[in-house]
Amino acid sequence: MGNERLKAARGWLAEHGFDAMVAFADGQNSFLESNAVYVFTNVRSIGRSAVILEAGGGSTLVVEPAYDGDRVRAIAAVDRVIASDTFAQALTDALGAVKSGRVATVALTKQSKALSDAVLACLPKAEAFDGLAAELARIRTQEELNASRQANVIAESGYRRLLEVARPGVREFELAADIYDHMRRMGAEDNFLLMSASQHNLAVRAAGRRILDRGDIILSEITPCYQGQFVQICRTTVLGEAKPMVREKYALLKESMLRGMEAAVPGALVADVTRAMNAPLEAAGYGDYCRPPYMRVRGHGLGITSNLPGDLTVDSTNRMEEGMVFVMHPNQYIPETGYLMCGESIVISHNGGISLSEKDAELDVLAF
């Protein structure tokens, strides 16, 4: 895929009159952001990395550490790979051919100031286009969509594993270790896994040492990455007996989800989709809770190719496009029940959002 995206980038350079592009990644993969180097080269680097694309010529990938060179050369969709333990020096040396030209930088502002200063000192005609990789990769290819679907199979299997092994007496970190390991064995190369429990959750958080007990509500945000595609599912599991109030409020989240799916048609404003999701909660009297700290966002894009359409908020000016993949999650703190979670990864089709899950979120109850 990197070759096609490099081709697209080359087209962009020609169209906008640039001599070269330099795209960066800091080795800190985020499920919320685009990894520009991965988009253009297929390489998820161990350390920092940068790809230099000349408008009329070759492509060079610089990575750290030096020991990773053989692996990177085997997978990188570029002409030349430089692997070094002195990254900044190797990069500034490699910039030699493009130093005097008009250069578009991608994600340089997300690198350390030390590296940014070193690069900008070499590139007097640099202009920042931080969103370029996400923009070019905003529509998933069939190959990427297949990877997203497989990632969702892994996520759902991870959740089924949670239903098998969660019980009173288990520590949160032990449960998290179990389902994380389960998903690794299925091929998850990374996993933004939040999983925590309480009798009254304020939010989901990373697993701690708390011991699960009857009456706990387990929240899980399961986010495996498969072949560069993160997906996310959000689930709520009651350990013991579910109170009628919890069932009632969970139905509210499901209604919110349904409204969002219907509204997420190609061309729809993300802000309007968010408003559609908020509507059932506002109608039920929770309008004041449709903001932090009672929730964060109603969904968000998924890395590491493109994080568009971005966060699902009422302030967003982005629009839905067919082929975008993101997570929609009306996760919400409700004063009577605590925080509840319900969410699926969605692909936008011509007539609305389609969940990638075989079984969408329900309030699950484990009887103990």
Binding site: D181, A188, A207
Partner: protein, 374 residues
């Protein structure tokens, strides 16, 4: 050792006040107070992110699981910790630090509030070179010309040059978990597992033992190169080689793990023996490196990047690299991870040990890769 950084640090994530009590941090923060007073600074700012947070964790116990955090110390009064997380997440963040006032870094008013209480004068900074230019712009925009930034990384480096007893105690615990993980790796290999499965079993063992973070690398080519976990591969070559790093309560221990037999194993163990024999308090690090006799048949292993070890603790790389030409001395009261490794066209071999020299110069081997589980 640089390894793949996960999208979120996943493991047992707590501030254990039994092992690292508040008075431990009082002692550490005296360094900040003294530096502010000695330099006439108006305050200090300690930055860390999910990738590099050794100094931030040392002063605050706070480890950003993702994005960044900053501890803001005024010349007078209590510090505030800004975490780059939503206000929804702040209650969970508070459980990781002794600092009572934890705020969302997404609401810049908290930084401005801290700044407003400072008198004019320089602000010392630690770790800020790792922050993005955008964050720098926000910080300098708020501080203005009356409060210029002054790099004070040497303040933290000096304070952390020797490890405190409680730190060494936690590193021993991390080494214990690492040993168990290594044994699990070896047991899995002995039962016929492929190298990826061995690494997964080791990771799981460490996580079940309350590891805060676990990193692994494996070799799929008889030890010649090291690579991160890759789904779908099930390689089992004649000789297997892995790397395991475990973080426990904020402190790392690491080990290489050898399975199967390779032609270079004996020479590499001999090189490690030579390092252990040469390592003694006060001796120049370059001299220790010089004790290793080069092999005429094989090259130094690429994974070692031309050195024979370094200090380890809050970070996998605390500096103090043992390599030719380094005149700095082998320090007491600090844990070193020693490495020896060779590679030829048939494969490679790497061995390691965690060592500590006490104040009397006695060298203790905390762990050795050729050793078994505790």
């Amino acid at each position: 050792m640089l390894t793949v950084h996960p999208s979120i640090i996943l493991g047992s994530y707590v501030w254990d006040e039994e092992r690292l009590p508040r008075d431990e941090f009082d002692a550490r923060n005296a360094v900040i107070r003294d530096a502010i007073a000695a330099n006439g600074w108006s305050g200090m700012l300690v930055y860390g992110d999910a990738k590099e947070h050794a100094a931030l964790a040392w002063f605050t116990n706070f480890i950003p699981r993702m994005r960044w955090a900053m501890a803001l110390f005024p010349a007078n009064g209590q510090p505030v910790l800004l975490a780059s997380m939503s206000s929804r997440d702040i209650p969970a963040m508070k459980t990781m630090t002794w600092i009572g006032d934890v705020k969302s870094g997404w609401e810049w008013k908290w930084f401005d509030q801290w700044r407003a209480a400072l008198s004019d004068g320089p602000v010392g900074t630690i770790g800020l070179a790792d922050a993005t230019p955008l964050l720098w712009k926000q910080i300098t925009g708020s501080l203005g010309s009356a409060l210029p930034l002054v790099a004070a990384d040497d303040v933290a480096a000096k304070a952390r040059a020797m490890q405190r007893p409680r730190e060494i105690s936690v590193i021993r615990e991390a080494a214990q978990i690492t040993r168990r993980a290594r044994q699990a790796f070896q047991d899995a290999w002995a039962s016929g597992a492929d190298i990826e499965t061995c690494a997964l079993v080791a990771e799981r063992t460490a996580r079940d033992n309350a590891a805060q973070d676990v990193r692994t690398l494996v070799s799929r080519d008889n030890g010649r190169t090291f690579q991160p976990f890759a789904p779908g591969l099930s390689t089992r070559s004649e000789k297997g080689l892995g790397y395991i790093a475990v973080k426990y309560l904020g402190y790392w221990a690491d080990t290489y793990v050898q399975v199967g037999k390779g032609t270079l194993d004996k020479t590499v163990e001999d090189q490690l023996d030579a390092l252990l024999k040469a390592a003694s308090a006060g001796k120049p690090l370059g001299e220790i490196a010089g004790a290793v006799r080069a092999s005429s048949d094989a090259a130094a292993h690429a994974v070692l990047s031309g050195h024979f070890g370094r200090r380890i603790g809050s970070s996998l790389n605390e500096g103090g690299e043992i390599r030719a030409g380094v005149s700095a001395p082998f320090a007491t009261d600090t844990v070193y991870s020693l490495h020896a490794g060779l590679c030829d066209s048939n494969g490679g071999s790497v061995a390691s040990a965690l060592v500590l020299a006490d104040r009397n110069g006695k060298l203790e081997v905390i762990d050795r890769s050729a050793g078994g589980a505790a």
